[in-house]
Point group: C2
Chain length 269, copies 2
């Protein structure tokens, strides 16, 4: 389960150890949001603040199952926020660099104005569950419970901005904390698959997630969309809402486009 | 001018020196995008890659005019991208932590699909120029040439998502490089001023900018909008287009809301 797969323990004043658990992969490469979760756990431990209010990860090398070492540098501890950076190493390579500000999200209210609504989805049982395979959908899909809106699950070109909408939760009723939201923010198929363009894969260069609230236990209602496929990159903007209809997180990732589509396949960094 | 105000020079294997130049402030605090530009210059020098493809800054303390020291750590140098982190110190305080991936943007084409358009603006001469004052608009406005769409310049509540649209350039015909885009990404008044809510100020916690292309010399067409004022924070999403109508950058910042509006004024971090 996610809580054990993302656990870390302190090994020194600024170092933590964890493990990329088997099965958390996309074609053999560790899932990006999961590796970010390992980094965020270490930062949360180091700062004593449990919730990633805003965290950014840059993906440097693909991770493989096995032990990882996480070096954390606490940059500032303020009254509300603590900021830390983390570098995750595994298999002799630097996998991820992260930078985040952490707090204890207390649900205090304040001025509110929302110019959006959660996506209108059929119930989870009427959506298309992503079942894991050795290729696509990836093995990672066994670690999460992802249900895609039937309209999007045909993987046909979107009339408007390419997008995927659907439900997310961890299997077996495991509760999802704010660090688990980092996995949800990176769990859906690439929006480029609905662009109508010959794009085989879009490796993530960077992912930033903002957490606005702790989700209640249950399904998350998610939508990911792309407006700008240009300049060799595309963004994927995510919105994640909990069962009460509250926005719990926003995410944006920058992904690479293949340089010479469609022959070259995935882009190399 | 910006190029001299943002210049840095190497002082050691991993250290750079620069200066927060006078006049680049908002009520005495150095402009956030400008401090990020100092960090980005140091990272670009250290990695040998001139363009910030994606860079994130976390604002830790307000900067004051005077010397700054920038510590850079190069995390990975790949074929296309190099990733580095930077910490900016000044006046005995840590001002900014940044993390970015840099490249040499070569304008190579690739698959393209754009689901948006540059904002439709009156010509710069028919927009409202932000003239610097000691308070608001801030002194910083003398360092840039910012023209706001007359419709937005009334600072009235937006019917839709709170937003500001307008033109940006550096004065005196100074060309703007990709690092200058970081200033543009943080130059407009807070969208919260058009929210209809009693919000006096929204300090930036984190800003991420993605650069898609090098802008041609001339005016930038910009739009900044907010859809989610909730959970004690708001996002500001920016889109920046050059005079050829090309998207050159996207930005998103997470800003703080005052905790007990309207009495407490600006939030403390």
């Amino acid at each position: 389960m996610f809580s054990t797969a993302s656990a870390v323990h302190r090994t020194g004043p600024a170092t933590f150890a964890g493990e990329i658990a088997p099965g958390w992969d996309i074609l053999g490469n560790a899932h990006g949001g999961y590796v970010m979760a390992l980094a965020a756990r270490a930062c949360a431990e180091a700062t004593g603040r449990p919730d990633p209010v805003t965290v950014t990860g840059h993906f440097l090398s693909p991770g493989r199952p096995g032990p990882v070492a996480i070096e954390v540098r606490v940059l500032r501890v303020g009254r509300r926020f603590a900021t830390a950076s983390a570098v995750v190493e595994g298999g002799g390579r630097t996998l991820l660099a992260a930078l985040g500000s952490f707090a204890e999200i207390d649900g205090a209210s304040g001025p509110e104005r929302i110019e959006a609504a959660p996506p209108d989805l059929p119930p989870p049982d009427e959506c298309v569950r992503m079942e894991p395979t050795d290729t696509f959908p990836p093995p990672f899909m066994a670690r999460v419970d992802l249900r895609i809106d039937p309209e999007d699950a045909r993987f046909e070109p979107s009339p408007g901005p390419p997008r995927f909408r659907g439900w997310f939760r961890f299997p077996d009723g495991e509760a999802l904390d704010t660090i688990g939201l980092l996995v949800a923010a990176d769990a859906f198929p690439p929006t480029a698959f609905r662009s109508g363009l010959p794009i085989a894969w879009t490796p993530t260069l960077e992912l930033t997630a903002h957490v606005r609230a702790r989700p209640v236990n249950g399904w998350l209602r998610c939508t990911f969309s792309t407006r700008f496929i240009t300049g060799g990159h595309l963004e994927e903007d995510g919105e994640i809402w909990d069962e009460t209809g509250r926005l719990v997180a926003q995410s944006r990732q920058l992904a690479l486009l293949p340089r010479h589509a469609p022959r070259s396949g995935a882009a190399a960094s």
